[in-house]
Symmetry: C2
């Protein structure tokens, strides 16, 4: 059943007041905030209704109202006003993103820290590469016992490894090996590099010392790790300032949960590309997150990297501001990393997608 306009106003007032104060909200406060032309008693009647419908609850009789997960959900989906970032905020984000040069994992960790700074909630990032294949293999001869393998992967990533061997080989052998690898190993997924392929290569090139398998081994290792997801978490300490985490035990549980990258990775799939997703309290799959909320924004870089950036906080979270900020960061990331490609559709526009529940 659709709520009346007035009830929506009241619900919004309760949510926003509670987000600020963390205290149960009474009828009088609602009146001030919502600016309605009625008496507290009327508000109380409406509150009772919202309570009955499951949008609000009372910690105890004779206390004010607190939003339920359902209440937050409605707020996020319909009631929340879009928060515009100030110029200084957008400037700051853009500047920080642009000033960055360096490895992808460092970048993501820094972006996470930025999200923490901006929102004052713990931030997490997940990044994954789309499965790569090898485009080109070079072998650089150093001396009779050592050489460097240089792999060019799809997405223009370059990987290398220095190999020392206890026996000597010739520069010519390396040249032949690289020719064969470029002919037979490029474009292959990791599971296509079988031991059959390796032994036949060995025979073809006349390698009796196992150089082929050293190189093939590095190929496999590289392909496997290249698709591994990287995660980062920052700003966990900020939880401790929040009233809902004054209980050290509660804080401990959540921080501990966040400190395991497996748990972070598990948040993948909660979000599709191009939107901001809000998971409120019990909408979270993980038990440890059941009384917290997670806001996730996804980005996609041009070179096959895609990922999420998100924050974790109490259900009483400033969704509007957080979503706007994350959306802008993720958008900026897509723009920055996807340099050259067109900015993804919907960049800059805030689209919220909800949990699985009907609301």
């Amino acid at each position: 059943m659709e709520l009346s306009e007035r009830r929506k106003k009241i619900l919004r007032a309760v949510v926003e007041e509670y987000i600020e104060s963390a205290e149960p909200v009474g009828s009088k406060t609602v009146l001030n905030r919502a600016g309605l032309n009625c008496s507290p008693a009327t508000i109380r009647n409406e509150l009772v209704a919202l309570d009955r419908e499951g949008y609000l609850e009372q910690p105890h009789t004779s206390a004010g109202r607190v939003p339920t997960a359902k209440g937050y959900r409605l707020y996020v989906n319909e009631l929340m006003r879009e928060r515009e970032l100030s110029d200084s905020e957008t400037d700051e984000i853009t500047r920080k993103l642009q000033s960055h040069s360096g490895r992808a994992d460092r970048l993501m960790a820094d972006v996470g820290r930025m999200a923490t700074e901006l929102t004052s909630y713990p931030a997490l990032t997940i990044s994954a590469m789309s499965p790569a294949t090898v485009k080109r293999v070079d072998l650089i001869y150093l001396d009779a016992n050592s050489f460097i393998i240089v792999l060019l992967l799809t997405g223009d990533t370059v990987k290398n490894k220095l190999v020392h061997l206890p026996f000597s080989f010739t520069e010519d052998l390396l040249r032949r090996l690289s020719a064969v690898f470029n002919a037979s190993f490029t474009g292959l997924m990791e599971e296509k590099i079988t031991s059959d392929l390796i032994t036949s290569t060995e025979r073809a090139v006349g390698d009796s010392m196992g150089l082929t398998s050293v190189i093939a081994g590095f190929l496999i290792e590289t392909l496997m790790t290249s698709k591994g997801a990287g995660t980062s978490v920052s700003g966990e300490a900020n939880l401790l300032k929040l009233p809902e985490f004054q209980d050290p035990d509660k804080a401990h549980r959540l921080i501990n949960y966040l400190s395991d990258s497996q748990n972070i990775s598990a948040l993948t799939g909660s979000s599709d590309f191009g939107d901001v997703k809000v998971l409120i309290g019990p909408e979270n799959a993980a038990l440890e997150l059941r009384d917290s909320s997670v806001v996730l924004a996804s980005f996609e870089a041009g070179d096959g990297m895609r990922g999420l950036i998100g924050v974790v906080g109490p259900t009483r979270m400033d969704y509007s501001a957080v979503a706007a900020k994350l959306s802008y960061i993720a958008g900026g990331l897509s723009r920055l990393l996807g340099a050259g490609s067109a900015p993804p559709a919907g960049f800059g526009k805030l689209m919220i997608k909800g949990g699985d529940k009907d609301v």
Copy 2:
């Protein structure tokens, strides 16, 4: 003044009891623990003396005794019994270290997590490379607009970068460039790569497109970042289980402090190679660590990497167990990474070095 044997026994009993219980220790408890042939009253007299000398203090009259920083210091320097690791513990450490293959920063982060697991205190790691120079430069021609720079550094690290350019060049130019770079840029510290050197190289090789400065730029960037220290912190959440960090504010301050890698780096220099260093409470330079203790063990790998691994905890810390574990991990790290070189002197032996104060 040297303490009498009995007082030492009593001090040890107080420290060890307090480490276990986190409660002020009374005369009766000391008696049980130290196993002396006297009455509680005698103990009390001795406690008064230890109190007067500054080794112990009372939270309030009519409470038991708690060690002071000075008391802990004496305990660590003289009274602490060396803790032997059980076989299963040493096995576990060795196994985990050996099972690792991968990048150095990942390894260090994992080692930190291991230290956290073993000690249940937050762990930190710092690793730094000794300043590198370039041993060899290779340029791999991909197509008329792109090539890969491959740098071999001292310490056998290899770095690479893929360069796309908006104009075209010939494979021959690359060949000449790499020859010149190998002739003029190898063995140079970063600050020796001046713009004079770059322009004269440009002239020598006939490069009018700025390829030289692209490559030189990558050289400089690589040399600069290669000496940068990496840090990791893990297990901060464990603080919250400790009675001394039940105050969320206190925990927040410390965790926040630990989350800034600058602060972690600042711990470098607190430790020399080959020993375990214990910094007790006020012995710490940083204000935020003044009522915590830090135990640091250093390691040195063969390839120019050196670093520290340490834990942070309350002054009431099981120094003996922590020092033994960290020492073993650091020793194992030296052994593992310094593969081939002789194990560093003193490996396996526990040598504690104290703070700056006389004790």
